[in-house]
Amino acid sequence: MRNIRMGLLLGVLGLAVHAGLAQAAEPVKPSEMTGKELAFDRSLGNCLACHAMPTVHDATSPGTIGPPLIAMKARFPDKAALRAQIWDAAVKNPNTPMPLYGKNKILTEQEIDKVTNFIYGL
């Protein structure tokens, strides 16, 4: 199942199409990945496709579609609200371009928890 999903996810957002940008697949299993790894992975969270993370030094060449993820505790005092944003961004904005990571089962519940913890610390 994981393998099928990984295969489907290749080329997600067109990023893997450019040979120069494609990176070798992570040998780490998603279940063992950290929140940061999940958020960065081009075939899983791929948050950098749209969001800068100004406080993370290796968050290079981010997209500009979404707002920079910074000072998240101040903007989301309630961590559950942050998780909800990642789980289904369409609740707040029905026209959101942000993928519905939980609702559309792009990430598992456990993966969303890890990503939420990572983002919460930014």
């Binding site: 489907l8 996810l9 080329g11 997600v12 957002l13 067109g14 990023l15 199409v17 450019h18 040979a19 940008l21 791929n46 950098l48 496709a49 749209c50 060449s61 981010p62 997209g63 500009t64 579609i65 369409a90 029905p94 026209n95 371009p97 993928p99 519905l100 559309n104 089962k105 792009i106």
Partner: protein, 275 residues
Amino acid sequence: MKKLLSLLIGAGLVFGAVTANAGPEQDREALIKYFTTKYPNVKLDNYVNGALAFDPDAMEQYKEIMSFPPFVGIIEQGKKMWDTPFANGKTYASCFPNGGKDIAGNYPYFDDKTGKVVTLNDAIDACRVANGEKPYGLASKEIGVLDSYMRTLSDGMKMDIKVQGPGALAAYERGKKTYFSRVGQFNFACATCHIQQAGARLRSDLLSPIIGQATHWPVFRGGENLVTLQERYKGCFKMIRAMPPKIGGTEMNDLEYFQSYVSNGLPMQASVFRK
């Protein structure tokens, strides 16, 4: 339909007081207004360059590559195919008005007899069949190579697609609906990236605008990798994890019809480089 309208509004595309069912010409004008208002410094004609229109540095690099295009050999191959007579002695030129010159901007057109949209590639394959040859197939390499040469005969022609009569209008509307419908696990519509977010960066890729997107096919990616317009559509469908419709099928052709219409008035370019 309500969803469609809300997406249009979400994309800042407010069609005055009209509904999502405004005619093709109103759609085209609304899109031009949307982009010229959002990016007042980008000249309309520059949109035939796609994402490059937003990035002068990348445009310079592109010009350098295009001064010695790496793909000329493929176009020469296409010319050879074009000039080689069929077994019956006739040539491709005999199938087209004006010998195939300055006509690519009239494709796709709607054929009232068959009730279907006909793309330039459909017409090339139909020419083969009419002359007793086997069709290449719309997803074949050969059709792309022939197409790449044939379009050099219309370089600079202004896109001039016609939508006349109820059948044509219905096909246009179907294509438009596909363009604005959210599909796939990522729940994107073409419009999400190429209208709403055009000009923004998806990671390091600038997103090109819908206007001008149909004017310069096929493209050669990374040098010699020939990609037809519908192959590019297929790539974008896959990117959002949606099932791509069949190349040359009604859904793809209707999409190309809609997408080509909104580029009307823009100059066509034969064969360009894309990264």
